[in-house]
């Protein structure tokens, strides 16, 4: 790109929308406006932040402008300052200053998130006597105060050389600038012209006004003078600024001089890996090779296969060539710590499925067994650091995070930021509030956005909501909301992306505190980091790893066998048999209903089948219509076809890419590869495409890429229809697609968890329950599933249960064998019961408890805790059922936990008279079980209603397999899960459960609309419809629905009382303050709903 002509004036005071709710244009808009106006450089000055500088840097580089990096320091006790570092060192000092103010408040305490306490003394300490940053004092409206404060400012800041002057059409601008000019002369300073830019074009003023109102929680009509009087704070052309400052030519000249002096560029932030990971006197490559070969020997005790040795040599050579050995060493370092602490972890990501990572024990996918090409993921063209995410047990990830902070220090390690953007609903709500729309109208407007990401407000079905779209006020509101969508709202911490550096991180980027205790994160998000080529390590949390670790521990304790992710036997046919039966409740990734439907069709028999299974049931492939072709080809119903380009090209170019997935693109890499091969995208272009896809949610243009790709494919002789489909597949991938390497890592966890489930079902269920909340299923389904596998499940009991669910030797359990383990439910299953009480209970259980009061006298449990135990029916071993135990528990006095009080209990009230309470019917026990633990071992609620349903000729779900295709059937059950997948165009899937099993309902949109309330609200549902069977999967296609939730009431009251419960009779509770969470009162816990 040709160098731009030098303009006499450079605008320095650019506020972007990273000055949250103050700047109304994003960096790219400002840069392109500057480009149009002919600027050759542009300065950025957001308020106390550098969050927007990378975007400015990237956008400016694209248009050949030179960005001048800086920020506006808003001080607590002095006028604001613009600061522009001239060099890398000065930039580092500025970052350190901001970090200091963001990490500690004025009193030296932990600073709150998003706060920045800058004081003049802090600034003067950091930037004193270093003629590095250019400092410009920014006068506010009150010039009298400014002029009295100026001497102090000059005294503290020897570097201060300028005063900013703006011509903002305030009426007295000339007088004001003249006065500033005099002040400058008095103090030996120079005037600099700037327009205090808040937006790139005058048309943004309304949005800026709205932002001001949002920030100050005002409506637009009440905001008055807090809004700017005019729209002059836009980016003006150099000529315009020259005209305005015609009388102060030096102010213009100074802006140019500052711009010329500040040569610092973000490109200078060369990334350095931390050095701790390499011992002294060793080169990283050398050391990595040593670790890899040593690890390889451990991995292959019987000798390394030749294939692996070759692969390792090749990979190590490439790593050396790309100089990324230290990256692997850093990952290895973290993983080694985790392993030392017994924290289970697994790597995934583009570089993870390499032989090197396997030997470093970062991953467990054995390269000897599986074809996973490293080069596919670390390409030489992509000069980006490789990408490895490491998943840790979700319960112990925090230990890893804190270890990283400790090992590298808070000034060298930080989490990435995530920029939270305004989403449509939020934008409408906030703008609506500012524009004075009533709560009802904004709610109606926001309600027209389905899902959290509508593309545009124009897409809103506003009319549907009964609103008059032609009303100008409403129209204006919608237009403004549309402008607000995608604007950054605040910074949040990334879930686990760590930045580690050799030199202090705080001198590379400002680091601030997170909302969570003991977390700090940098101001840039992952795209910014990628743009600057900085390495990131993702430290993520995964519930299944917790579950697997707990499973391994239980197997080791009870069966004496030690397993790890890598030592689970491969390709166990029993495991695949189980999966082909769709028997996968609780198994990682392939447990959802959609996955379960797919299992019997896909019939996985090998590990790679699981890789595909994991990847294929995702919104991306579903949206791109890849599932059915793949299935047909796998079942041999369809021939594999590979469209070919024109005769002058290699006819097999697509076959090479797609053969392993039978010609259907399933993985993200394949999609990218198609773009590169079939549409001749350069690696750089492909990378751009990938990024555009990944970020198109917030902003970005996909259509340009589409034109390019489809055009080139057609040019090369592909059918346009095929080209279009390829693109739409890529589009689907952008958001939800799985790279093959991720799929492989996930498939391994899926296999391991299946293996445990298959061979140690009791262990698996216990570990799953002990790792809750996680996964797709609630405890009730997990327990039901394990019982169906012949495991005896024993109830929670004060004399047998630990906090965790555990295994208990039990004669006759486990079906065939005479002696096996039963699953003893743990105290943690009781809702609201505290771990502290559990510790006391188990700690004092040297001999069995004999009475309810024992728990009070011996173990000092809180009376509330004892009541919870009683309500959960945990006293059976002392011969007390729930009601009797509750009766006893109630008698325990709430008193301070002191010996004096606890001992005095019995005496002062005399002997307790025996009372005979009515016996609790089984149905009520079941309902109470659900209320206290969300499941019941005693019976299923439906069992009590079965007689009545049988009279109505309803089927049990277990009888469904014996029905004919198309048969008219009625079933009833509790609603377990409702789903309305975005990819299913309004179809709702409901899973019903009765005492015999579960049934899958499919409800078409017309029925959903007709019975909306029932579909979305019923707990007990009666459904009538026709049976559909495909590949051993049975669906009930619903034609009619009834809400029978009220029948559940009769389980507690008996049919007589519930009938009289007319609405009139329902009095409100006597004291409105005592309202508990509705869940605790309802009969059966709510279903889990996914929208």
């Amino acid at each position: 790109m040709a160098a731009k002509a030098r303009t006499p004036f450079i605008e320095l005071g650019l506020m972007t929308n990273f000055s949250f709710l103050q700047g109304a244009s994003d960096p790219a808009e400002l840069v392109s406006a500057a480009h149009v106006l002919g600027y050759d450089a542009i300065g950025i000055a957001d308020r106390n932040t550098l969050a927007g500088v990378v975007r400015l840097h990237v956008a400016a580089a694209g248009l050949g402008l030179r960005p001048i990096i800086g920020c506006r320091l808003d001080l607590l006790d002095a006028p604001s300052l613009y600061a522009y570092p001239k060099s890398r060192a000065g930039y580092g000092r500025l970052c350190r200053l901001l970090s200091a103010a963001k990490m500690q408040n004025r009193d030296g305490a932990w600073q709150g998130k998003g706060q920045c306490d800058l004081s003049l003394s802090l600034v003067s300490e950091s930037l004193r006597a270093v003629d590095d940053p250019v400092l410009i004092a920014v006068p506010d409206d009150d010039l009298d105060a400014f002029s009295t404060g100026l001497p102090r400012l000059c005294q503290h800041l020897p570097v201060l050389g300028h005063i900013a002057a703006s011509y903002l059409y305030r009426g007295d601008d000339r007088a004001r600038i003249n006065r500033l000019s005099r002040l400058a002369v008095q103090h030996g300073l120079r005037l600099v012209a700037t327009n205090d830019v808040h937006y790139h074009a005058p048309a943004r003023r309304p949005l800026q006004d709205v932002m001001t109102c949002i920030r100050q929680k005002l409506t637009i009509t009440k905001a008055g003078q807090r809004l700017h009087a005019n729209a002059e704070r836009y980016l003006k052309s150099p000529e315009e600024m020259l005209r305005l400052f015609a009388d102060w030519p030096d102010a213009i000249r100074q802006s140019r001089m500052i711009a010329d002096a500040c040569r610092f560029s973000l490109a200078e932030l060369r990334y350095e890996y931390p050095s701790e990971t390499v011992p002294e006197n060793r080169t990283p490559d050398d050391y990595l090779a040593e670790l890899v070969w040593a690890g390889g020997a451990r991995r292959y005790p019987e000798g390394m296969p030749d294939k692996v040795r070759k692969t390792l040599n090749r990979e190590l050579a490439m790593i050396a060539k790309l100089d990324i050995a230290r990256y692997f060493l850093t990952i290895h370092d973290i993983v080694r710590f985790a392993r030392g602490e017994g924290i289970l972890c697994q790597g995934r990501g583009s570089a993870a499925n390499s032989a090197v990572c396997y030997c470093l024990e970062v991953t467990s996918v054995d390269p000897a067994q599986h074809e996973l090409l490293f080069e596919r993921f670390v390409s030489e063209e992509r000069k980006e650091p490789p990408d490895i995410d490491v998943d840790f047990e979700h319960e112990r990830r925090e230990e890893v995070i804190q270890h990283i902070y400790q090992r590298y220090g808070r000034d060298r390690a930080g989490l990435c930021a995530t920029v939270i953007h305004y989403r449509p609903r939020m934008a409408i709500r906030e703008v609506g509030k500012v524009m004075g729309l009533s709560e009802d109208i904004t709610a109606a407007l926001a309600g027209t956005v389905w899902g959290s990401w509508g593309k545009d407000v124009v897409d809103l079905r506003v009319k549907e909501a009964g609103l008059d779209i032609s009303d100008p006020h409403l129209k204006r509101t919608l237009a403004l909301a549309g402008e607000l969508i995608g604007m950054p709202r605040h910074l949040s911490q990334h879930v686990g992306g760590f930045i580690l550096t050799e030199s202090p991180l705080v001198e590379t980027v400002p680091v601030g505190n997170g909302a969570m205790a003991a977390r700090s994160f940098i101001e840039w998000d992952k795209d910014d980091i990628a743009a600057l080529g900085i390495m990131k390590v993702d430290v993520l949390a995964l519930g299944m790893l917790t579950c697997i670790r707990k499973s391994f521990a239980l197997i080791a304790a009870h069966y004496g066998r030690a397993y790890s992710l890598a030592t689970i036997p491969d390709d166990d046919p029993a495991v695949y048999d189980m999966l082909c039966r769709a028997d996968s409740v609780g198994v990682f990734q392939i447990e959802s209903r959609a996955q379960m439907n797919m299992l019997p069709r896909l019939k996985p028999r090998a590990f790679y089948d699981l890789v595909i299974q994991v990847a294929i049931v995702r919104p991306g492939p579903i949206q791109g219509d890849m599932v059915h072709p793949y299935l047909r080809r796998r079942q041999g119903k369809e021939r594999e076809v590979y469209p070919s380009p024109g005769p002058e090209y290699d006819p097999d170019e697509l076959r090479n890419i797609l053969q392993r997935t039978l010609g259907v693109p399933i993985f993200q890499e394949q999609a990218m590869k198609i773009a590169m091969v079939a549409a001749c995208f350069s690696p750089a272009e492909a990378n751009q495409l990938r990024k555009a896809m990944a970020t198109f949610r917030s902003r970005g243009k996909v259509s340009d890429h589409k034109e390019k790709m489809v055009g080139r494919m057609v040019e090369r002789g592909y059918a346009p229809v095929f080209a279009e489909r390829c693109f739409s597949q890529i589009e689907g991938f952008g958001e939800y697609g799985f790279p093959e390497s991720h799929a492989a890592s996930f498939a391994l966890l899926a296999y391991v968890s299946s293996w445990i489930k298959c061979h140690y079902p009791a262990v698996f269920a216990a570990a799953l329950l002990n790792s809750q909340p996680m996964g797709f299923y609630a405890p009730a389904q997990i327990i039901r599933d394990v019982r169906e596998h012949g495991v005896t499940v024993l109830p929670v009991d004060i004399n047998f249960s630990d906090w965790d669910n555990s295994l208990e030797p039990c004669a006759g359990a486990g079906g065939g064998s005479s002696w096996a383990y039963a699953l003893r439910l743990g105290l943690r299953q009781i809702e609201g019961f505290s771990g502290k009480d559990a510790l006391r209970l188990t700690g004092h259980r040297r001999r069995p408890y004999e009475a309810v009061a024992d728990l009070r006298h011996r173990a000092r449990l809180s009376p509330g805790g004892i009541r919870l135990l009683a309500a959960a029916d945990a006293f059976r071993s002392i011969g007390k059922d729930r009601r009797a135990a509750l009766w006893d528990a109630r008698a325990i006095r709430e008193a301070p936990d002191l010996p004096l009080f606890t001992h005095a209990d019995a005496e002062d009230e005399g002997e307790d008279q025996p009372v005979s309470l009515p016996e609790m019917p089984l149905s009520e026990h079941v309902v109470t079980d659900y209320q206290t633990m969300r499941f019941s071992l005693k019976a299923h609620p439906m069992a009590f209603l079965r007689k009545a349903y049988a009279r109505r000729e309803f089927m049990k779900t277990s009888d469904l397999p014996y029905s004919r295709f198309g048969q008219w059937v009625s079933i009833a059950g509790l609603v377990l899960v409702r789903q309305r997948p975005g990819s299913a165009s309004g179809v709702v899937f409901i899973t019903l459960e009765d005492e015999s099993g579960v049934a899958n309902l499919v409800i078409w949109p017309d029925i959903v609309e007709r019975h909306r309330k029932i579909v979305m609200g019923a707990r007990l549902l009666a459904a009538h419809g026709r049976i559909q069977i495909a590949d051993n999967v049975i669906h009930l296609v619903v034609r009619n629905l009834e809400d029978e939730t009220r029948l559940l009431d009769s389980l507690v009251d008996g049919p007589n009382q519930s009938a009289s419960a007319e609405p009139d009779n329902i009095a409100r509770p006597a004291s409105p303050g005592s309202g508990r969470h509705p869940r605790s009162i309802s009969i059966i816990p709510k279903s889990r709903d996914f929208h």
């Binding site: 009426g171 309304p206 729209a231 009601r883 909306r1012 509770p1069 006597a1070 508990r1076």
Partner: protein
């Protein structure tokens, strides 16, 4: 055992029925549209009351509005006005004095009446209750009354018995025994616990040894968590008095005069006497008068009255007296007043404030007292006071509001720092101005056919249209302060810029004049 008779009236649909009444919503027409009233809950709005159509759809009170709206998109949600409801129920309790003198509102949808010895006036309790139902129905309210010897029993029967219940002293226990335990005015958790224990009816509670129940539901000062105490209250074992609400004492002073007065001085004398008494009472309750009414009852049976109002609540007898001073002659005394009353019609709480250490008065007080006197003399609309609105547009920057309705501004509106002319023209007047296009300062202006050479100017101050209010064709204004050769200063503006695309060449206007 006592022989009191207490009626509890349960108004199951009070909020929605009052809402229908207030909004003129026709209850017959609501059959189709489900309407709910919402109040704020801890997690967003919850349903406060429902209409018939909503009941049929199974909408229950206390559910979250968002949840229900998802189920029933056609749901109409209105804001509950609990404050108005409480006022209504208080008024209703006054209205209930027709049956007996002891009435109290009970929660936000019930009333309690002590009708001991009143029923014979209505031909017995049964007829009294049916009369009540009819009377409430005439107000558009569904009422479910029950009468019992104790408050607790009446409350329970009104809400949980099927027919209008009349409970005799001897049969309380029997009458209550089949009712659910919730009828004992217990909170949800206690009710749930009792049900878990298998104690579902009041009868089941009665069957227990009292000590066992006491031990399990200990009384910690919360009656709603203590079934034994509630049971005792309902059965009359422990007393629960019904304390009626006595209407607030009216702020009225009255003098019966020995000799009718008919001259102004006599009336003034009585007025000050009355004022002294009232001000004493105001001071005792920290109240101040905003509006007063002096009435004279003539010997011949006629009444003549005058009123006065203040801009700020006041307890100052001297000041209040002066408000009537020049108007006493407007009273038509005829043959003289034999009774005079002074009512404080509107009063407000005032904070005890010492204006300053010297005991002098604050400017605000002096100003508002002046305003009061001027209003008293010239009328309510004659005294205006400017209030800043905060708009940048000069003509909208302030509005004149009657000083009487002017309250002391609690949050001061920030005012613009740039100077404004001493005099602002009501409508800007167009002028011809010589200036360098496009944005040069004015050099000469012709206003009212006089030509003024501009020797000095300052500006422009650019004020953009209020985009949220004005049409998109509204133009911005550039204000200049200019001075002519004679030293006269004008505040003029140019409307629009030549190339703003919102009309032709910009026009100039004079908007203000400076001294």
């Amino acid at each position: 055992m006592n022989n009191r008779r207490i009626i509890s009236v349960f108004l199951p649909h009070f909020a929605i029925q009052r809402w229908q009444k207030r909004t003129g919503d026709n209850p017959e027409a609501d059959l189709g549209v489900p309407v709910v009233l919402a109040r704020e809950g801890p997690r967003g709005p919850v349903i406060h009351d429902v209409n018939l159509a909503a009941i049929r759809l199974g909408v229950r009170c206390d559910a979250r509005v968002t949840d229900i709206r998802m189920l029933i998109p056609s749901l109409r949600v209105e804001q509950a006005d609990q404050k108005a409801d409480r006022q209504d129920i208080a008024r209703l309790s006054q209205w209930c004095h027709q049956w007996c003198p002891w009435v109290r509102a009970d929660g936000d949808n019930g009333l309690l009446l002590d009708t001991t010895g009143s029923d014979h006036l209505w031909g017995g309790e049964a007829r009294m209750l049916s009369g009540m139902i009819a009377a409430f129905a005439s107000l558009g309210l569904t009422a479910r009354p029950a009468v019992a010897p104790t408050l607790g029993a009446a409350w329970a029967l009104a809400r949980y018995a099927t027919t209008p219940a009349i409970c005799r002293a001897g049969s309380i226990a029997d009458d209550l025994s089949s009712l659910p335990v919730a009828a004992l005015r217990l909170d949800r958790e206690t009710v749930l616990m009792l049900r878990r224990l298998g104690l579902k009816t009041i009868g089941a509670l009665q069957a227990l040894p009292p000590a066992a129940l006491v031990r399990r539901f200990r009384y910690h000062g919360l009656l709603s968590a203590s079934p034994s105490r509630r049971l005792d209250q309902a059965l009359g074992r422990i007393p629960e008095p019904l304390t009626p609400e006595i209407p607030a004492e009216p702020l009225r002073a009255m003098r019966q005069l020995l000799e009718p007065v008919c001259d102004a001085s006599g009336v003034t004398y009585v007025l000050h006497d009355l004022l002294d008494e009232l001000v004493r009472r105001l001071a005792g309750r920290n109240l101040g008068a905003r509006r007063l009414r002096l009435a004279g009852y003539r010997v011949d049976g006629g009444v003549s009255a005058i009123s006065a109002a203040t801009a700020m609540a006041s307890q100052d007898a001297g000041h209040l007296g002066r408000l009537f001073e020049n108007r006493i002659d407007r009273l038509v005394a005829g043959f003289g007043f034999e009774i005079m009353t002074l009512d404080i019609v509107v009063f407000e709480r005032i904070e005890n404030a010492q204006w300053d250490l010297s005991g002098g008065t604050d400017d605000d007080v002096a100003l508002s007292q002046l305003a009061d006197r001027l209003i008293a003399r010239f009328g309510h609309d004659a005294v205006l006071s400017p209030v800043a609105t905060g708009s940048h547009l000069p003509e909208r920057a302030g509005v004149l509001t009657p000083a009487a309705s002017f309250h002391r501004a609690t949050d001061k509106v920030e005012t613009v720092s740039s100077p404004r002319p001493l005099r602002l023209l009501k409508t800007p007047e167009e002028v011809q101005v010589l200036y360098a296009v496009p944005e040069g300062p004015p050099a000469q202006l012709v206003w009212r056919r006089q030509t003024h050479r501009v020797v000095r100017s300052e500006g422009p101050e650019r004020i953009a249209p209020e985009w949220w209010r004005q049409r998109s064709t509204a133009r911005l204004r550039d204000y200049y302060r200019v001075e002519d050769t004679e030293g006269r200063r004008y505040w003029i503006f140019r409307e629009g810029l030549p190339d703003d695309g919102r009309g032709g060449a910009p026009c100039w206007y004079v908007h203000g004049l400076d001294a």
